[in-house]
C-alpha cells in the first residue's frame, strides 16, 4: 500500500512537472496614463510563452469596480520565432475623476494532449482532471481620470437633412439625423422631436457602430416622418460632447429647416375620373365571356370527336367468309347453337351474306 502511494505521488510529480514545463509571462504592452471621465482607453496585455504552448488558453476576468468599467475588446494570438504571444485588448472607461488602478485576473487553462485525445476518441473511463486552471493576477495598470461633465466623449459630427424642401399637405416629409464619429457613441440618447401642428412618426436609431480603441466608431442614424397641413420649421438639433483631441467641450448644432407645405390634394382629385365613353371594361368582360363560350364549344367538339373516333373493329371468325356457303360452313363448324337461325336463313336464301353477318353481330 505504501509502495503504491509512493508511485502515485511520483507520477503526480512527474505529470505536474511536465504540465508546467512551459512557462509564460504577463506584461502590459500599451496603456493610457490619462483619461477623462467617460472617455474610453485601451489597455493591451500580452502573455508571452516560451514555446508554442498549444495546450494553453486564457480567460480574462476583471473585478467589478465603481471607478471604472472594463471590457475585453479583442484578443489576438500569434507565434513569433516559435513563441506564442497572446494579446488581449481591454477597453477601460473611467466613471469618476481621480486615480484608479486597473486590477484583473486571468485564468490560464492547461489541457494535456492526452486529455484532447480522450475527448476526440470519446473515452469515458478517464478522470475529470482534463483541464488544469491557474489563476494569475494581471500586472497592475495605474490611470488618472480628469474631470468631465459631458456624458459623451470622443470626436463626433452631426447633420440633419430632409428629403425635399417643400411638399404638399398630408404628404410625409422624411427627416434624417446622422451622428458620425468615434467615442462612447453607445451612450447617445435618441433625439425627440415635437413641432406644433405636425404629426411626427419617429423610428428607433439605427446604430452602425463597432468597438474600437477609443470606445466605438461608426454612425447612428435616426429617421422621422413628418406630416403637416401648413408650413413649419424643424428646430435645430444639438450635440454636446467632450472632444478628446482638443480636450474641450464641443457643442454641434444644426440649422433650422424651414419646410414649405403647399396646398393638399382634394380627395376628388385623387380619384380617377370615369370616362363615359370608355368601353375597356365591357370589352374585357366580352372577351372573358367569349373565352368561356369558346372553351365550352371546344370541349363539346372534342367530346363529339372522341365519341365518333374510329375504333378498331372487333374481329370475328366469320369475317373471312366471302360467300353464304363459306359463312354457313364456318358457323356450322363452330357448333354454336346460337348461329342456327342465321344458318337456316342463309340456307333458305332469305338472308344475304351481309345481312347474315349483321345478324351475327347482334348474336
Amino acid at each position: 500500500m505504501k509502495r503504491s502511494l509512493g508511485k502515485i505521488i511520483f507520477l503526480w510529480f512527474i505529470n505536474t512537472t511536465l504540465a508546467w514545463g512551459t512557462t509564460y509571462q504577463w506584461s502590459v504592452v500599451e496603456s493610457p496614463i490619462l483619461l477623462h471621465v467617460n472617455q474610453s482607453g485601451m489597455v493591451r496585455y500580452a502573455c508571452t510563452y516560451d514555446g508554442s504552448a498549444s495546450e494553453y488558453s486564457i480567460k480574462m476576468h476583471f473585478v467589478e469596480n465603481s471607478n471604472y468599467t472594463a471590457s475585453i475588446l479583442s484578443q489576438e494570438d500569434k507565434i513569433i520565432q516559435g513563441k506564442r504571444i497572446q494579446t488581449i485588448d481591454v477597453l477601460v472607461t473611467p466613471n469618476v475623476a481621480g486615480d484608479f488602478e486597473l486590477n484583473g485576473n486571468a485564468i490560464v487553462s492547461f489541457t494535456s494532449l492526452g486529455a484532447v485525445e480522450n475527448t476526440v476518441l470519446g473515452r469515458d473511463n478517464v478522470g475529470k482532471n482534463d483541464v488544469i486552471e491557474t489563476k494569475v493576477a494581471l500586472p497592475s495598470v495605474k490611470i488618472h481620470a480628469d474631470e468631465n461633465s459631458m456624458a459623451l466623449t470622443g470626436k463626433m459630427s452631426l447633420e440633419a437633412h430632409v428629403d425635399q424642401p417643400s411638399i404638399r399637405g398630408y404628404e410625409p416629409l422624411h427627416l434624417t439625423i446622422r451622428v458620425k464619429g468615434s467615442g462612447n457613441l453607445d451612450q447617445l440618447l435618441p433625439y425627440e422631436l415635437n413641432i406644433s401642428g405636425v404629426k411626427i412618426f419617429a423610428e428607433l436609431p439605427q446604430k452602425s457602430i463597432s468597438p474600437s480603441s477609443v470606445g466605438y466608431e461608426g454612425e447612428i442614424v435616426q429617421e422621422f416622418a413628418l406630416v403637416a397641413q401648413e408650413s413649419y420649421t424643424i428646430p435645430p438639433f444639438s450635440l454636446s460632447f467632450f472632444d478628446t483631441v482638443t480636450k474641450q467641450v464641443v457643442t454641434l448644432k444644426t440649422k433650422p429647416i424651414v419646410v414649405d407645405v403647399g396646398e393638399g390634394y382634394e380627395p376628388s382629385s385623387l380619384l380617377d375620373t370615369p370616362k363615359v365613353g370608355d368601353t375597356t371594361a365591357f370589352k374585357q368582360y366580352g372577351m372573358y365571356t367569349a373565352l368561356v363560350v369558346f372553351g365550352i364549344l371546344l370541349g363539346e367538339m372534342v367530346r363529339r370527336l372522341w365519341k365518333h373516333r374510329p375504333r378498331r373493329k372487333r374481329k370475328h371468325f366469320w369475317d373471312e367468309a366471302q360467300s353464304s356457303k363459306e359463312l354457313i360452313l364456318l358457323l356450322a363448324l363452330s357448333g354454336d347453337k346460337r348461329f342456327d337461325e342465321v344458318i337456316r336463313g342463309l340456307e333458305v336464301g332469305t338472308m344475304s351474306l351481309g345481312e347474315g353477318k349483321r345478324r351475327l353481330e347482334e348474336v
Binding site: 356457303k325 354457313i328 360452313l329 358457323l331 356450322a332 363448324l333 357448333g335 347453337k337 342456327d340 337456316r344
Partner: protein
C-alpha cells in the same frame, strides 16, 4: 314430332343450365343408337345431363364409376353359387339397362374397357353358358377427364371407334354460370317427368331414318371422310404428315345417321351440308389417329378437321 324433342329439352333444362350442344349430341346418339363419349373437366353437369335424359325418356338408367380395380364381372354380372339350390345362378350386372353411364371410363383397366366395348357392339352378354340380349335401346354414355394423366388407361383407337360421337364439353357462359349458382344457392329443384315412352322413341327413330339425304350431300360426306385419309387430294398435302390414320368407314356410316338426326332436330325433312359440318368434328375427332409430328407440334385434331372441311367443295 319436333315438339317432343323440345319437351325433352325443357325437362332437361329443369336441372341443367346451358350445355345445349351436349344435350343435342346425346339426343343424336339416342336417335341413331350410337354410343357417346363425353370429354370434359369435372363439374360440367355431364352425369346430371345423362341422368336427366334417362328420366325424361322413362328408360332404365345405371351409373358405373370406373376405377382401376374394377372387374368385367362388376359390369356384366356373373354366376354366383346358390346354396339353397346347390347350384349356380346368374346375377346380372349393371349393363342390363337402357342408358349406362360409364363414368371416367379411362380409369378402368383394358380388360374392363374391352368387355364393355364388346357389349356395345354386340348388344349381347354371355354369362356362363347362357347368352342374354340387351334391351333396346341400349346406349352407353361414357365420360372421361382430359386433364388427368396419372392412373388412367387411355382407350385404344379401335375401341374409340365404337363410339359414334365424342363430345367435348366446355364451360358455361357467364350468364349460365350465374343462373347455376343462383339455382344451387336457393336449393330449388324441379322434378323431371318422363315425356316419351319406348314406342314413341322408336317412332322418332323411324322418322329420323326417313329424313331425305340428297346424293350430292352423301357424296359430300364421303369426300370429307376420304379427305381425312388423303388430304393431298383436296390440296392439303401439308397436313398429310400429321395424320397417321384417317377416318374409318364407321365414320361415314355414323355421319349418314347423325346428319339425319341433326336435320330432324333442326326441324327439317332433308339434310343440308351445314348439318354435316356442324356434326363432323364430334363424329370424327376420336377416329383420326394423329402422327408423332402432330403431337410434337401440338396440332389439334379439330384444327385439321376444320382445314379439311374448308378444302372440300360444298355441294
Amino acid at each position: 314430332m319436333i315438339d317432343i324433342i323440345n319437351q325433352i329439352r325443357s325437362e332437361i333444362a329443369k336441372v341443367v343450365v346451358g350445355q345445349e350442344k351436349m344435350i343435342d349430341g346425346l339426343l343424336i346418339g339416342l336417335l341413331c343408337d350410337g354410343h357417346i363419349l363425353i370429354e370434359g373437366i369435372p363439374g360440367l353437369a355431364k352425369t346430371t345431363t345423362v341422368k336427366a335424359l334417362s328420366q325424361t325418356l322413362g328408360l332404365g338408367f345405371k351409373r358405373v364409376q370406373f376405377t382401376p380395380d374394377l372387374l368385367p364381372s362388376d359390369i356384366l354380372g356373373s354366376e354366383v353359387y346358390d346354396p339353397k339350390n346347390n347350384g349356380f345362378k346368374i346375377k346380372k350386372g349393371p349393363i342390363f339397362t337402357n342408358l349406362l353411364l360409364a363414368d371416367e371410363i379411362n380409369r378402368a383397366p383394358a380388360k374392363v374397357q374391352s368387355a364393355l366395348l364388346e357389349v356395345m357392339q354386340e348388344h349381347q352378354v354371355t354369362l356362363g353358358e347362357e347368352s342374354f340380349k340387351l334391351q333396346r335401346p341400349f346406349l352407353v354414355l361414357a365420360t372421361q377427364n382430359p386433364i388427368e394423366n396419372e392412373g388412367v388407361y387411355p382407350l385404344p383407337e379401335a375401341q374409340l371407334d365404337r363410339f359414334m360421337m365424342k363430345l367435348r364439353v366446355g364451360y358455361n357462359t357467364a350468364e349460365e354460370e350465374l343462373s347455376i349458382a343462383r339455382r344451387i344457392a336457393s336449393a330449388t329443384s324441379e322434378e323431371i317427368h318422363a315425356v316419351i315412352d319406348r314406342e314413341m322413341l322408336e317412332k322418332l327413330k323411324e322418322r329420323v331414318k326417313g329424313i331425305h339425304i340428297d346424293e350430292e350431300v352423301e357424296r359430300y360426306i364421303i369426300a370429307l371422310v376420304q379427305a381425312t385419309r388423303n388430304p393431298q387430294q383436296v390440296g392439303l398435302g401439308e397436313i398429310q404428315k400429321y395424320i397417321q390414320f384417317g377416318a374409318s368407314p364407321r365414320v361415314s356410316i355414323d355421319l349418314f345417321k347423325a346428319c339425319k338426326a341433326v336435320a330432324f332436330l333442326r326441324g327439317r325433312e332433308f339434310v343440308t351440308p351445314s348439318d354435316i359440318q356442324s356434326i363432323l368434328k364430334d363424329v370424327m375427332r376420336h377416329r383420326i389417329v394423329l402422327s408423332y409430328e402432330a403431337e410434337a407440334e401440338n396440332i389439334d385434331v379439330d384444327m385439321l378437321i376444320e382445314q379439311i372441311v374448308k378444302a372440300v367443295a360444298v355441294p
